[in-house]
């Protein structure tokens, strides 16, 4: 009898301990995972930054020459490292792509949520998912064999250039903007819409005066996320943009972006040479731009919650 009692107590004790140990293992494993996340970002920021600043620290290129210089001649007898053409190229293609993609995406989101919520969503949802799944090399391949010849035949110039890059990018960022915008639209409280309809407003009046203004910060979030993707895209753009290190004067002129000059030059330059360091500085610029994009998204989200 007494024996039995102690056994039961022991049993309970061991079960509690087992729970504790399990909990402990689980917790420490999870903390390890989180720690790894932190380590990976810290090491990434550290290495890219330390390589990126060596252009200025070791090769003594001045910040002004790098960011505002327009002459890129890294292998010349008097090498110059003006990165402005690439920075400008990245911004121009990204903004153009956003300008093309945003109206399309917003219309697609409205189509899915407001106009035909039933089959509209069934039709567009898989389309959006597929578009986001197509690999960027395939976009580049199609851009080079469809968009470039088309532009060459219709517009002056060689077809290759900013316009081709922006078009390819705009298709690539469509899914990002559309899915964020559609989420925001469907999260809108129903009574807001219904009261507008009750006042006798047409659908377009409701959309343009009620729905879009209230969801604007969320839609902008989608646009910024799309721009972040466009800014960092490398291969597809490099295949169609022409890669001349100049600020383009027309849409059909060959230009470069930060990513395209990095992919072209990185393998052919030796580590620690000034040319290679300058490419790392551009990678640093790309990284800082990512921070900026995330920061803007955060600001927009804060506005949304108010």
């Amino acid at each position: 009898m007494q024996n039995n009692e102690t056994m039961r107590v022991q049993d309970r004790k061991s079960r509690i301990e087992k729970h504790h140990i399990e909990d402990l293992i689980g917790r420490s494993y999870m903390s390890l995972c989180v720690l790894l996340l932190i380590i990976s970002i810290v090491s990434m920021v550290y290495f890219v930054t330390s390589k990126g600043i060596s252009t200025f620290a070791i090769d003594k290129v001045s910040l002004a020459d790098f960011f505002f210089g327009t002459k890129w001649s890294p292998e010349g007898d008097n090498p110059t490292f003006g990165a402005l053409p690439f920075i400008a190229g990245s911004f121009i293609t990204t903004l153009l792509a956003a300008l093309i993609a945003s109206p399309l995406s917003i219309c697609a989101a409205l189509f899915m949520t407001e106009i035909v919520p039933g089959w509209g969503k069934k039709l567009l949802q898989p389309v959006i998912e597929l578009l986001s799944g197509i690999p960027s090399v395939v976009y580049g391949f199609v851009g080079l064999s469809v968009i470039v010849p088309f532009l060459r035949n219709v517009f002056p110039g060689q077809g290759i250039g900013v316009a081709a890059g922006a078009l390819v990018l705009s298709v690539m960022i469509l899914p990002t903007i559309t899915s964020v915008a559609a989420d925001a639209l469907s999260a809108l409280p129903r009574n807001l819409k219904e009261s507008s309809f009750a006042l006798g407003a047409t659908r377009w009046q409701t959309i343009s005066r009620v729905i879009l203004p209230t969801t604007l910060p969320a839609i902008l979030t989608g646009v910024v996320l799309g721009m972040a993707r466009a800014f960092g895209e490398a291969l597809a753009v490099q295949m169609v943009i022409g890669n001349a290190p100049f600020i383009p004067k027309s849409l059909f002129e060959s230009a470069s972006t930060l990513t395209s000059v990095i992919t072209l030059g990185m393998g052919n330059t030796t580590m620690r040479s000034p040319h290679n360091n300058a490419l790392w500085s551009m990678a640093l610029v790309l990284m800082l731009m990512t921070f900026l994009f995330v920061f803007i998204v955060r600001l927009l989200e804060k506005r949304r919650s108010i």
Partner: protein
């Protein structure tokens, strides 16, 4: 049951870590301690790691496969990454052989000059580069001066050099390209600056495609890429043919280099020697559109001085 699951998770994690640790060792060892385990001479075994020029990669891969068939104990890995990467890695002893389209001295400059001195050059093939144009340009010969005028932007229409009335579109290579360095050094004799509106592509395939598709285009390609889709231009009335390169009449060519850090060990040496046998030079090297280094009647040093052999 559940604790078992978490154990499996932990196990998976540790094995990943352990694997990467192994890899760490493996990577460090490849360059340093892969001396053949048997030194009898006939039986070679061990592994060789080569990296670098993507242009040279197909040739090295193909020769490596044949070498491995003949020497079962040897494993050769050939990686791309570009000439710069190959030179960096061989200089830092991460690989055994660094493949390059250019002399190491041209890439490892200034602070890295010492590193270039430690590298031993093995010239395995010669690549010749020809100026090419879109077939409708109406020109089949350009002089050196005409080429310079075109690539510096002085001449912008084909009719100024005796061709059709068609705007010239330059398809150039990026500043870091070995092909561009060779073309500028031996065809133009001067470094050029990028012109506004010029197109830059790194890869020969894309350059060829664009010259073939773009009216008025001019660019330059290695002989192995030439076909009917583009018009090959004579240079100062010399045809860019293998014979003219071998005899030294056609000047726009460069060596393909395979660098080792210091003198190669026995196994690497055997591989590099195999590269220079007639079997390879007249077989694979020629098949892939290169010119055998052993056939050259002239030789050239880093500074570009040509001497008869």
């Amino acid at each position: 049951m559940r604790s078992k699951k978490s154990w499996i998770m932990a196990l998976a994690l540790t094995s990943v870590l352990a694997l990467s640790a192994c890899g760490n060792n493996g990577g460090n060892n490849t360059a340093g301690s892969n001396a053949p385990t048997e030194t009898s001479g006939a039986e070679l075994s061990g592994s060789i790691l080569a990296s670098g020029s993507t242009a040279l990669q197909p040739l090295v891969e193909q020769v490596a496969e044949k070498f491995m068939e003949q020497n079962n104990g040897v494993d050769i890995q050939v990686q791309g990454g570009g000439s710069g990467t190959g030179l960096t890695q061989v200089a830092e002893k991460q690989v055994d052989i660094g493949n390059s389209d250019v002399f190491a001295e041209e890439k490892l400059k200034d602070a890295d000059e010492d590193k270039a001195k430690a590298l031993v050059d093995h010239q395995v093939a010669v690549v010749a580069i020809a100026a090419v144009a879109h077939p409708d340009a109406g020109v089949d010969n350009l002089t050196k001066q005409q080429l310079v005028d075109i690539f510096t932007g002085k001449v912008t229409n084909w009719k100024e050099v005796g061709g059709a009335d068609q705007k010239i579109q330059i398809i150039n290579r990026p500043a870091s390209s070995g092909t561009r360095a060779t073309f500028e050094k031996f065809a133009l004799g001067t470094k050029t600056e990028d012109l506004k509106g010029s197109i830059q592509e790194d890869s020969s395939g894309t350059v060829k495609k664009m010259i073939g598709e773009t009216p008025g285009a001019i660019g330059y390609l290695a002989l192995s890429y030439l076909d009917d889709s583009v018009k090959t231009l004579n240079y100062d009335s010399v045809e860019p043919s293998v014979d003219n390169v071998v005899s030294g009449k056609y000047p726009v060519w460069a060596y393909e280099h395979m660098y080792t850090n210091g003198e190669p060990n026995e196994m690497v040496k055997a591989f590099l020697d195999y590269f220079l046998t007639d079997e390879v030079q007249n077989g694979d090297v020629t098949d892939l559109g290169y010119i055998p280094a052993s056939k050259m009647q002239v030789s050239r040093d880093v500074a570009g001085n040509v001497t008869n052999k």
